[in-house]
């Protein structure tokens, strides 16, 4: 097993190599010039050239690329052009904010999605099944920004039940330790802030959870339907086992493997693809961080942000692969 994990981590190297190279080239293909953005419309040609030289942008692209690569290998992602702060320091709070939102959303998506799928399969063709699958179909088709805006309007503006933006109350900011606010507030014993944090998480969390929840529900249902017809489910029933245990023990464990794949892919997407939700809900996450960097042509930030998201994506899928073998004794990695 350790051997397998080692092998997978080694395979990660060419992936990240390729990733960094593609991103590096693509952002340079976007029209625009960091020096121009920083110095503004009135800047003289000399001033811009001087700034480019100081940023190292006057070197040929391959020199720039190898500088960047050398930096990564020594654990230095470079400095942000905009803020002059090393990216390794700057990016963490954004990552934590995204991760907290993504984990919260995935928990909602998994708990509701998996159970809805199970019950739909168990009572196939019942009113619950039809209703759940119609909702799931709407869930995968609805644009997330529309859902976010509607949530803000209904539960924020009209009903006033939930805050519509940010991670917490700006008048009473959370003292960050881990930058995961749910953890920070608990460590400090600030249960009032803990509740506030959860209230802030609900609207963006639900908006973000909708698509994965619908996909997970549909996947669980079809996987369960197949497993429920299998011989070992009949055997378990022939023993006199309760239907609940037959479903949740014998059937679910077999049906969950394809669902895990989907959960892995969706989690990875939430990390990088939450830009829309983060923008609508003013969530200070990594998606917005990178998005803003694009506007400023902040090349190092874009490169590093994408690289980190790609890295996390691959890591999550590695964890999923390892989970397979924990669930299914027939899967052995060498």
């Amino acid at each position: 097993m350790l051997h397998y994990i080692g092998k997978r981590l080694l395979q990660l190297i060419p992936v990240l190599f390729g990733m960094s190279f593609i991103v590096f080239l693509m952002i340079r293909a976007i029209p625009g010039d960091p020096a121009q953005v920083i110095l503004g419309q009135q800047a003289t040609v000399e001033a811009k050239a001087a700034l480019r030289a100081s940023l190292g942008l006057d070197n040929p692209w391959y020199v720039q690329y190898f500088d960047y690569l050398g930096g990564i290998l020594t654990g230095d992602l470079g400095d942000s052009i905009r803020t002059k702060v090393p990216i390794t320091e700057e990016i963490y709070p954004y990552l934590a904010a995204t991760a907290e939102l993504a984990i919260f959303a995935m928990i909602i998506a998994i708990v509701i999605g998996v159970n809805a799928g199970i019950i739909s399969a168990w009572f196939q063709n019942s009113w619950f099944d039809y209703m759940a699958m119609v909702i799931a179909l709407i869930g995968v088709s609805v644009p997330i920004f529309w859902l976010g805006l509607m949530g803000q309007w209904a539960f924020g503006t009209e009903l006033g039940w939930l805050p519509i933006s940010g991670r917490g109350d700006v008048r009473d900011p959370v003292t960050s330790i881990t930058h995961f606010y749910l953890i920070d507030t608990l460590i400090q014993g600030r249960f009032d802030q803990f509740i506030t944090t959860i209230r802030h998480l609900i609207l963006p969390g639900v908006a973000l959870a909708t698509i994965p929840m619908a996909i997970i529900a549909r996947m669980t249902r079809s996987s369960m339907l197949e497993v429920m017809r299998s011989d070992y489910v009949r055997t378990a029933r022939a023993k006199g086992q309760k239907m609940f245990i037959v479903v949740y023990k014998h059937a679910l464990k077999n049906a969950i493997i394809p669902v895990l794949t989907v959960i892995g892919l969706q989690s990875g997407m939430l990390l990088g693809g939450a830009i829309l939700t983060e923008t609508i809900f003013s969530w200070p996450g990594v998606g917005r961080y990178v998005y803003d960097a694009i506007g400023f042509r902040d090349y190092p930030v874009i490169q590093s942000g994408v690289l980190i998201i790609a890295f996390l994506f691959v890591m999550i899928n590695l964890v999923v692969d390892i989970l397979y073998s924990a669930i299914d004794p027939r899967i052995k990695y060498k």
């Binding site: 299998s230 055997t235 029933r237 022939a238 006199g240 004794p329």
Partner: protein, 331 residues
């Protein structure tokens, strides 16, 4: 045989599948009795309703589309058709247990043998301690002839061969000492030497534990080796019921005669193996007349105009055919 106690009395059982093409009575008003400690065989081609009969007794008919639409299944004078789901769960595994055709897929691949075996014990003996359950599991695995029973508990199904898995299935079925064991083609998926071992095992266990066995098969050889009495099913109906000796020496129904003729005989060299012409009609398609008439070599005009009943012959076997000289009409 009559002095033996009845354990299972099936009276006029009808199981219907409600499909898009209409209601299909896969089991069409069959009646038979099982006695304590006997091995009763049900023979028939695919689609004759033998598996549906066994699943009906377990109340495991996939529903929808299937449903028991008529009749009674009396187990120790209780009609199990009328039991609630919860009451039925106490019958399954404890009073009536079942093993299936496919040992390769009938065990859950993700749980150990021990987990699945002990689960079968725990369902019906909630108060037993873990030690007691484990001891019983090892005892039953040894009884079905599995070596190194204790370490087997930690193994997963994929680590065992087909024959071993079927032994585990038998162990799991017998672990709560059921009165009736239904074996639905238990040896079909196994190779011939293993088949013989499994049949011998079932015979031995039947003698040792006095469990009545309902053996469902399409293999007449299996019937000859194991059973005392045989029921022949055709298109959802019982067409003949006899003791094994009678059935093999003087089959009464033309269908049974045809079945026996199509068994390859090593003593005589034949040019081609005999086969009954035609196919089994779909249940529910023939309303009047004998269902076998189309394929029967003795067909008379009466066969298509009148529906034959199950007649008791003078020799004491039952057959659904006008050629049988009836001593008595049973149904």
């Amino acid at each position: 045989m009559s002095e033996r106690k009845k354990v299972l009395d099936i009276i006029n059982l009808e199981t219907t599948f409600f499909t898009d093409d209409g209601a299909v009575p896969a089991v069409d008003h069959i009646s038979f009795t099982m006695y304590e400690g006997e091995i009763l065989g049900i023979v028939g081609e695919s689609g004759s309703g033998k598996s549906v009969t066994s699943l009906s007794i377990m109340r495991l008919i996939p529903s929808p589309p299937g449903k028991i639409t008529d009749g009674q299944i009396l187990f120790e004078d209780r009609d199990i058709v009328m039991l609630t789901d919860k009451e039925m769960r106490h019958v399954r595994g404890k009073d009536i247990a079942m093993i299936f055709q496919e040992p390769m897929t009938s065990l859950n691949p993700l749980f150990t043998i021990g987990n699945q075996l002990i689960e079968a014990i725990r369902i019906h003996h909630k108060k037993w301690s873990r030690q007691q359950m484990k001891a019983r599991a090892i005892e039953i695995l040894t009884l079905v002839g599995l070596p190194r029973a204790e370490s087997l508990l930690k193994d997963y199904p994929h680590q065992l061969s087909g024959g071993m898995r079927q032994r585990v299935m038998i162990a799991m079925a017998l672990v709560c000492n059921p009165k009736v064991l239904i074996a639905d083609e238990p040896t079909t998926a196994l190779d011939v030497t293993i088949q013989a071992q499994i049949l011998q095992l079932m015979k031995n266990l039947n003698e040792q534990l006095n469990t009545a066995v309902l053996l469902i098969t399409h293999d007449l050889g299996v019937v000859a080796e194991t059973c005392e009495r045989v029921i022949v099913m055709y298109a959802g109906q019982i067409v003949e019921e006899a003791s094994v000796q009678d059935l093999f020496h003087r089959p009464a129904h033309p269908y049974t005669q045809g079945l026996l003729q199509s068994v390859p005989d090593m003593r005589f060299k034949k040019d081609a193996l005999y086969s009954i012409p035609g196919n089994v009609p779909k249940p529910g398609t023939i309303e009047v007349g004998c269902r076998f008439a189309d394929r029967c070599q003795f067909v008379m005009s009466r066969c298509t105009e009148e529906t034959p009943k199950l007649y008791l012959s003078k020799e004491g076997q039952k057959a659904r055919c006008f050629l049988v000289e009836p001593a008595e009409v049973t149904i």
